[in-house]
């Protein structure tokens, strides 16, 4: 005759991780995004190692635009962190300010990118001009689309829940994770494309 206790095996330890569910979701999303950009970057590196003439092609890239863009993105990551700090401190006004600045900086990145593309195309460098340019436009273009996505998300956060509630705190944190990821991808793209 079994004692009930051997058939009911209670577990006292907590079952879910201490990571909040939303954050877990965002991390899985970012993991898959890493494989997308990682794949593209790996293809670029491997193809470049096996080709010639890429250094000369890359010489036509401006240095001013990417430096400005790096500044813009890094600053926007900082303002995103400050937005998060604001919502933790329950300061709705500062939250709105910093979210707005982040959005504007993101738009600024896209504008600079657009200007850079037009300058390059005016000089006759299109995606089909050569394999280096194909990778350049492909990688920076995909990245820019992700920046645009982040801008839209931040804008939605700004417009729909402008006050520093608990829900908003989580959302700002998750949007911040995504935004930092987009920033980090740029940190990889910048040297790979512009400094080699």
């Amino acid at each position: 005759m079994e004692q009930a206790s051997t058939l009911n095996r209670h577990i006292a330890t907590p079952l879910s991780t201490s990571v909040p569910t939303g954050k877990l979701g965002v991390w899985w999303f970012l993991a898959s995004e890493v494989t997308v950009f990682g794949g593209l970057i790996a293809c670029y590196i491997l193809t470049r190692l096996g080709s010639t003439g890429w250094k000369e092609a890359a010489a036509h890239l401006s240095l001013v635009f990417p430096l400005l863009n790096t500044l813009v993105l890094l600053t926007s990551s900082m303002t995103m962190v400050m937005a998060h700090a604001a919502v933790e401190a329950k300061d709705s006004h500062r939250l709105r300010t910093f979210l707005m600045v982040t959005v504007l900086l993101g738009v600024g990145f896209l504008l600079l990118k657009a200007m850079e593309y037009s300058r390059e195309m005016a000089q006759g460098f299109f995606p089909h001009t050569g394999l280096f340019w194909a990778f350049y436009y492909g990688m920076t273009g995909l990245h820019a689309l992700h920046v645009l996505g982040g801008v839209i998300v931040n804008l939605i956060l700004l417009l729909t829940v402008p006050t520093a509630t608990e829900t908003q705190q989580r959302r700002v944190e998750f949007a911040g994770l995504y935004w930092h990821f987009v920033d980090i991808v740029w940190i990889f793209l910048f040297p790979l494309l512009y400094l080699t």
Binding site: L24, A31, G39, L40, F126
Partner: protein, 584 residues
């Protein structure tokens, strides 16, 4: 009488679900069960389309250049009074593969079963992100629409194979297909996005939303299989997304990622495709294996043999699946020195799968086997999967692959592995969980008729296909009679076609059964199969919110036939009181 007593805390949670209108309840629903049924419906519709395409291809192969029976109504430029041109044949080949892998296997095995069962099996009220879940099914619906539209654009649907190798796929002039292939790529990208969202949901739900007492090693194996599949998918699809972006750029912007004339390399696509492609076949395989494991336990009335080791074996197989991809490329022009390393990893992957197969058989040992319809399908899956696994050894050996690559031997192999686990396993799951999903029982005799017809005609079609492959018949040709050395094989081709036709007809009992049972079937009780896992503790079908009270879990999922107990099952959330307390 049983000495087990159910002890549940009564706790009714209020919900405003009932007041929602038709659109919010059935179309734009965030309820995982509704979303599951939406995926199921879309997947089954595509299965009909994919099956009919197979019929048309097989007709052409058996009786080349004759009008396809019953298809004279298809207008030009697709077909000409039932006659098919080679471009259309290539489109059928391409879309049959794409549809079956991405628009049938994924939505039915992963999304439909996963969405319906995961929250129930972990004792949750819904997925972690219900609105993301709704978005994922609508993105999938959009992907379906894009793929559907791709048939009707000038130039027709994609025709470069489901593998889409460039340069054939990189420039429209090589195939004559323009927007059809672009839309194919876009549909795939949308499908990937949908399943990435779904994967995030599945993983987060299982990690964070388990009921009290439900540790990871008390999860049903179906759930474990789904999360390993989700991880495999999420980590492998990225490079293909990158590759698809590059292919789309080649087609739309004139870049030359894959064209040697511009410094590119056609083999780059192959590596990116198969780096994803191989884990992908395990992604669609694992849920079906999980279904078979659940059903075998229930209808042998025995615990699953070596539960933890099965989990470890599956994880090992998942890791190995990332280092076998070039076995699809042995003679593709890669450095020949790479062939044997990939051949070795490929053949090694047979070991963890052999483990799982042996564990399934060991579960049957000394069981008390009930041959219900779900059990028949589960056993059929196992029996056929063994043949598929064994032919994998042939394909994985590089020197042998010199001969059998791109022949029908490969086609026979992957139909035995994929069809048996996704289709037969899918049917096993449908017959088993239909009562829970729809509150009605499927007619059992009709189910058995469906089973026997399906298994007989499936084997009748695909066993001879191995011989056709050994005879050297190449894949993706429309007319075997154009080749002298293939003419002795033609009787086999005719036999295969006739079997495929019978196999398709054999699905009619299933359709009839579903429709009839939905309307007039016997109403299902809460736990008609006397199973242990948590979904059977919810009503059939479960209401929004699933459980009256969140279950508390006391044990693993396979405590069947415990010695000394009166009944041969003990659900995970039943609290056992002492016998003395029970009798008083």
């Amino acid at each position: 009488m049983s000495d087990m007593v159910v002890a549940k805390v009564a706790d009714v949670t209020p919900h405003v679900y009932e007041e929602l209108g038709f659109w919010r309840k059935y179309v734009f629903s965030t309820d995982h069960k509704v979303i599951a049924k939406q995926y199921l419906a879309l997947g089954l519709l595509w299965a009909i389309a994919g099956g009919l395409m197979a019929y048309m291809m097989r007709w052409q192969l058996a009786w080349p250049e004759t009008p396809v029976l019953l298809f004279r109504w298809i207008p030009e430029p697709f077909m000409y009074d039932g006659y098919m041109g080679p471009e259309f044949y290539n489109a059928l080949v391409t879309l049959h593969g794409t549809i079956m892998v991405f628009f049938v296997a994924m939505p039915v095995l992963l999304a439909a079963f996963g969405n319906f069962l995961i929250p129930l099996m972990v004792g949750a009220r819904d997925m972690a992100f219900p609105r993301l879940n709704m978005l994922s099914v609508w993105v999938f619906a959009l992907a379906s629409l894009v793929l559907f539209v791709s048939f009707f654009v000038p130039g027709g649907a994609a025709a470069a194979g489901w593998t889409g190798y460039p340069p054939l796929s990189a420039r429209a002039e090589y195939t004559g297909v323009e927007w059809g292939l672009n839309l194919w790529l876009i549909a795939l990208a949308l499908e990937f996005a949908s399943f990435l969202m779904g994967g995030i949901n599945f993983l987060t739900t299982v990690i964070n939303l388990r009921a009290p007492g439900l540790s990871m090693f008390r999860l049903p194996l179906f759930v474990w299989m789904q999360i390993v599949a989700a991880v495999l998918f999420m980590l492998s699809v990225g490079p293909l997304i990158a590759g698809a972006v590059m292919l789309l750029m080649d087609r739309l912007l004139g870049t030359t990622f894959y064209l040697p004339a511009g410094g590119g390399d056609p083999l780059l696509w192959q590596h990116l495709f198969w780096f994803f492609g191989h884990p992908e076949v395990y992604v669609i395989l694992l849920p079906g294996l999980g279904i078979v494991l659940e059903i075998i336990a229930v209808f042998s009335r025995k615990p699953i043999f070596a539960y933890r080791s099965i989990i470890y074996a599956t994880i090992v197989a998942g890791i190995l699946s990332f280092i076998v991809w070039a076995h699809h490329q042995f003679i593709s022009g890669i450095d020949p020195r790479l062939a044997m390393p990939f051949s070795i990893t490929t053949i090694l992957i047979s070991v963890p799968f052999a483990f799982v197969v042996f564990a399934m058989i060991a579960t049957l040992w000394k069981g008390a086997i009930q041959f219900t319809t779900p059990m028949l399908f589960a056993l059929g899956t196992l029996a056929n999967f063994i043949l598929g696994g064994v032919t994998g050894i042939f394909n994985g050996s590089a020197p042998l692959d010199i001969y059998i690559h791109d022949t029908y031997f490969v086609v026979a192999h992957f139909h035995y592995t994929l069809f048996s686990v996704t289709v037969l396993g899918g049917f096993a799951g449908l017959y088993y969980w239909f009562p829970k999903m729809f509150g009605r029982m499927l007619h059992d005799t009709l189910g058995k008729v469906h089973f026997w017809l399906t298994i007989i005609f499936f084997n009748s079609a695909f066993i001879p296909m191995h011989l056709v492959g050994v005879g050297g018949m190449m894949r993706r040709i429309a007319n075997p009679l154009q080749y002298e050395f293939l003419q002795p094989l033609q009787p086999l081709n005719v036999w295969i076609t006739v079997s495929v036709i019978m196999l398709l007809i054999a699905q009619i009992p299933f359709v009839v059964n579903c429709v009839w049972s939905l309307v007039a079937g016997v109403r299902a009780e809460q736990n008609p199969w006397r199973a242990n896992t948590l979904e059977w503790s919810a009503p059939s079908p479960p209401p929004h919110g699933n459980f009256a009270a969140v279950p508390v879990v006391y044990r693993g999922p396979y405590e069947y036939s415990l010695p000394g107990s009166a009944q041969d099952w003990l659900p995970q959330d039943y609290e056992v009181l002492t016998q003395a307390a029970a009798r008083s």
